[in-house]
Assembly symmetry: C2
Homo-oligomer: 330 residues x 2
Amino acid sequence: MNRPSIKEVAKKAGVSISTVSRVLNNSAPVSEELRKKVEAAVKELGYYPSNIAKSLRKGKTKTIGFILPDITNPFFADIVRGAEDFLRKKGYTLILCNSDQNGEQEIQLLETLISKHIDGLLFTGTGSFNLLLEEKIRKGLKVVFLDRIIQGINSSYVIVDNKKGMELLLDFLIKSGHKSFIFINGNKETFSAKIRYEVFVEKMEKAKLEYKHYFTNFSYEAGYNFAKKIRKLPHAIVCGNDLIAYGVIDAIEEKGYRVPDDVSVTGFDDILFSKHFKPPLTTIRQPKYKMGMKAAELLIKIIEENKFLNRGIILEPELIIRKSTKELKK
Amino acid sequence: MNRPSIKEVAKKAGVSISTVSRVLNNSAPVSEELRKKVEAAVKELGYYPSNIAKSLRKGKTKTIGFILPDITNPFFADIVRGAEDFLRKKGYTLILCNSDQNGEQEIQLLETLISKHIDGLLFTGTGSFNLLLEEKIRKGLKVVFLDRIIQGINSSYVIVDNKKGMELLLDFLIKSGHKSFIFINGNKETFSAKIRYEVFVEKMEKAKLEYKHYFTNFSYEAGYNFAKKIRKLPHAIVCGNDLIAYGVIDAIEEKGYRVPDDVSVTGFDDILFSKHFKPPLTTIRQPKYKMGMKAAELLIKIIEENKFLNRGIILEPELIIRKSTKELKK
């Protein structure tokens, strides 16, 4: 927008730019007469004081940023709702940015949010590192990591117990007779995909089962494209999240197979639609709304008590058994 | 975050605040010596120049805001993707805010975004008016309305032909023998709900069919709660969007009825999951990604050509026939 500049305000008020700045920032005494002139000009021109002026006065902008990796994944929408409901009650406004699982974009968004003066940041990263974020945290940016932590960065976080979630799922599949597995996992660089990979391999090796593992990315398309290329179906296809599972099921069915008759398929997250999917999806439920709420609560605590807390909150996952998996004959 | 203040920069550099401001804003000549001192202090403290300083130099912040009504509705996620893909190519960053279908919250978000210095705004409103937005548009804020326009506000917009969408849907249902209807519509105050209501009543009256119409809101819960209370099923339940239809189908099935055997149910939007819903949903497809892309394109045109264009783009809807509706005996 064509925002009136501070220069125009100064001209209109017949004062210097420094005077306008002093009035807006309360940074130095100004005579009542000059103050009135400036305020009249500000009002007439519809000039908005910059947020830094407000920050200087109040020390706070009451704005929280949230960088998330994929706006089209309903998993994050539920997290946002949880965070927002908490923040609103506390008088904070949440502004969201979508990195679209792109590391460069993530840096750009981080720079934009910081330049807009946020009091703190909720962050679900797309890769295994972010040097700019590391630097900003060292310089005092208050951050709570959500769903995914970045190893090597010291910060507070709220995640779900991915190890336990994966164990619940695999124990269930193994117990119901599945002996061969393909794991179509999400992005290699993400914390959650790594943990789930480790648990998977450990379980497979321990039970001496046949298995393959692939990193793709956390999307419907990744699942669809990958499953199109599978030649020989295993007993179970384990997917890195529900969206991958949706894509896998579609591709498998287009090839003329049926789920779960020909192959069991599982997800991870339990997004709203998984209950209604055809077939309804067996998956691990993450407490998404609670995750958002807890992260917002922790961030506000850090901001308002002005402490550099390093606290990790780990929430419990839950196994949800539906119709995309079946009991195999032993 | 504990951002270093301009005062601290001034102290560190051993100069006045006005001098720091002059250097950062390029608003008045400063000696090379002082400039160097200020720049060194800025660097050492990690001070970020406020966006208004950047605006003053460049006239633009290269940031676009988007206020949307419901982050949990995947309909908007697709629109965001379309807008973002276009904006990114043009070097703009998109920041999102979720009004959660709350008018007060919408005003708060608008104030926040304007105070953060956006170059323009994409706006999907939650009500039938927004006085603050009207004022801001008069004062030069560049806005493109998306999906929903607000009557009485002169601005550019990108919408889908709601009238045609509703006609396609009702003509199909009437032709396939449905003679009694309940329309569970979205929020009374929204443009799209109003248009769809008008078309519905007109069609029903013209064909002399039995009908009832109710405004609720565009959510799963609204559909679920409303359908729980329906005593006598009509031939068809027409829903204001796909989420309402999901809720309706769940409630109907919990009451022991089957869709479409006992009642046909239709949606509006065709979000990703509707193809996979059980039963797959008959609905009207809106070109969501294209809507976002076109709106971003129009907004950037308005910003870069600095014109106050009032242009409306109306996109075509498409009838998608799936398994939640059936052919009735005539």
